[in-house]
């Protein structure tokens, strides 16, 4: 579908700074920190090593001060541990490396969707866009596809680059030693599986949180002012009413579940085994129905939309 390709490119022309420049800058910054790790002495590195956060790695940091450079030390530590521990250390590090980009991505999607059908009504350019033979449905669809598939993939490229660099830096310290980088780093890391899992998780989250994203684009299509205030004001209002008039918080919990990524990752994380049944679960289907309804509302409102 040629039209769809052009529509997605159009989104990138408009939002280049948050779709391409921002992830490039963040990736560049953390790449720089990783490089510092390779040249800095361990005592410097301790303040720079932002990606080691979890409790179990505190002992890492204590020992760090007496060793060579950071990656050499990491290699020695990994080599000294059984496979299962290597996997969990490397996984934790890989996850930490992805955190800044994915955290940013969530906000980028949020603000992009909120502006996607609002800004052009504001600056009157909707009169130009709607004067071309592009249907309202494909317009809305192109924006959702951009937000939930294409831009996440761009950010994931940054994540992959950071993870790959960290692994390469650690393996490079294996040169000249009798430690096998393949066994201590690459096999436990399982990069391709990790990346596939990341793509899968993003895909599932996009569907799981479709009520939220659909809601954002619907607000963007309908609001005559302050879309951000509407987007969060109404759900908060509903939550408040629920708290006042009932002693339950089912609606509030449902909204919380389907908005906050942490709650998705902690409580509703799919696995390779249950992926299919997960897709067909009542929770997921209800999310798709509600999300679909909001998207339909957005398309309908876009059809009626005029400059504001």
């Amino acid at each position: 579908m040629n039209q769809l390709t052009v529509l997605i490119r159009r989104e990138f022309w408009e939002n280049r700074s948050i779709f391409l420049v921002l992830p490039a800058v963040i990736t560049g910054f953390f790449l720089f920190l990783l490089l510092l790790g390779a040249v800095a002495s361990p005592s410097d590195a301790i303040t720079l090593q932002v990606d080691i956060q979890s409790d179990e790695e505190v002992e890492f940091l204590d020992d760090l001060l007496v060793s060579g450079h950071l990656y050499q030390y990491a290699l020695l530590q990994l080599d000294a541990r059984p496979m299962a521990e290597r996997v969990s250390y490397i996984n934790a590090t890989m996850q930490s490396l992805s955190a800044p980009l994915l955290f940013t991505l969530w906000f980028v999607i949020l603000f992009y969707l909120l502006g996607s059908l609002y800004d052009d009504r504001r600056d009157r350019s909707i009169l130009f866009w709607k004067s071309l033979p592009v249907s309202d449905a494909i317009t809305v669809f192109s924006k959702l596809l951009t937000a939930l598939v294409v831009v996440p993939l761009v950010y994931l490229v940054g994540v992959m680059l950071l993870q790959l660099s960290a692994l390469i830096f650690v393996s490079m310290s294996a040169f000249g030693t009798d430690i096998s980088a393949v066994d201590t780093v690459w096999r436990p890391a399982g990069v391709f599986i990790t990346w596939l899992r990341s793509i899968g998780l993003l895909f599932f989250y996009a569907l799981w949180a479709l009520p939220f994203f659909g809601w954002l684009i619907a607000v963007s299509a309908c609001a005559k002012s302050a879309p951000l205030a509407w987007a969060f004001g109404i759900p908060l209002g509903i939550r408040l009413l629920e708290a006042i008039f009932t002693d339950q918080s089912r609606v509030g919990d449902w909204m919380h579940d389907h908005i906050i990524p942490i709650s998705f990752l902690d409580q509703h994380r799919p696995t390779a085994e249950n992926a299919f049944s997960y897709l067909l679960s009542l929770q997921m289907l209800s999310a798709l129905v509600v999300g679909g309804a909001f998207i339909y509302l957005a398309i309908w409102a876009r059809g009626k939309a005029d400059e504001i």
């Binding site: 040629n2 039209q3 390709t5 052009v6 529509l7 490119r9 159009r10 022309w13 408009e14 052009d120 600056d123 009157r124 350019s125 909707i126 009169l127 130009f128 709607k130 004067s131 071309l132 033979p133 592009v134 249907s135 309202d136 059809g303 009626k304 005029d306």
Partner: protein, 285 residues
């Protein structure tokens, strides 16, 4: 789509914004190959009428544009209709070259080399974004984009508003030179009558949401007559019910509607009124 009896058929459409009536039972048709001037003062309902034709706003009543209801199939209608809104509605962040890329990608009837040729005649740099262009250049750009699309109907809503006289002149020259060999119909809205008078084949006057005049230019002289009436003929002239009269050098210039010229000949010198005078006459009633 050529060969349709009417490009646009508007059957009594109305539009309300709350208590305000923007359009009240507006009806007219646009024939193939005609250049229609939709003329009215600010706030008369020109833009609302044009937006209704383009499927950009909702309304009550019936309308067909190229055989379709624009409210339902806007994107289908837009394959055969182009639109330039008053002052530049091109998004400020859009690069000139990307504007070409975009329209080429979404419009089946866009002739890119034609647009490039027209841009080459201007001083518009293709690498610039719209926000870096002057107001006149933005209009030139929009015109170049739109003229390179082969359509049945071109809708221009105050296309030269806010431009200086040089751009305004060349805008209409380009428009004429390019579209006279086409069979495209054009609707132009404006409140500056004189500028487009010579282009038009049809006149539509709109005031307070109502069509107050709907006439082909070449039938104007059969319907409207301006007579320079001397003081001695005043009573006789007033008896025939002029729609407007104004003082000129001690005489009265009176405009009559649907009064046979034979009856008017004795009153004084007969003219066909200028569109501007007709406009004033119709708006002041």
């Amino acid at each position: 789509m050529k060969g349709l009896s009417d490009i646009v058929k508007v059957n009594g459409i109305s539009k309300h914004y709350g208590d305000f009536t923007a359009l009240s039972n507006v009806g007219f048709t646009i024939e193939p190959g005609s250049i229609v001037g939709l003329i009215g003062p600010n706030g008369a309902g020109k833009t609302t009428t044009l937006k209704a034709i383009l499927g950009l706003t909702d309304f009550e009543g019936d309308m067909s544009v190229l055989g379709r209801d624009p409210r339902r199939g806007r994107h289908k209608v837009m394959q055969r209709v182009c639109f330039i809104a008053d002052v530049g509605v091109l998004p400020r962040w859009l690069r000139v070259s990307d504007a070409l890329n975009y329209i080429e990608g979404v419009h089946p009837n866009f002739n890119r080399s034609k647009a490039e040729a027209m841009l080459a005649d201007t001083k518009i740099p293709k690498k610039h974004k719209v926000k870096q262009l002057s107001k006149g250049m933005v209009t030139q750009l929009h015109l170049a984009l739109v003229m390179a699309i082969e359509v049945d109907l071109l809708v221009l809503d105050e296309p030269t508003l806010g431009l200086d006289i040089l751009y305004r002149k060349s805008f209409y020259e380009n428009l004429l030179n390019d579209y006279f060999d086409h069979e495209t119909s054009i609707v132009i809205s404006t409140h500056q009558v004189e500028e487009i008078e010579s282009l038009l084949t049809h006149l539509l006057f709109i005031n307070q949401g109502q069509i107050v005049l709907d006439c082909a230019m070449d039938e104007l002289d059969q319907v409207y007559t301006e007579v320079l009436v001397g003081p001695d003929q005043l009573t006789a002239a007033n008896a025939l019910g002029p729609v407007h009269s104004r003082d000129i050098l001690g005489q009265k210039a009176m405009i009559f509607e649907n009064v046979p010229r034979g009856e008017l000949a004795e009153l004084g010198e007969l003219h066909t009124p200028s569109v501007a005078d007709l406009f004033v006459a119709k708006m002041q009633r």
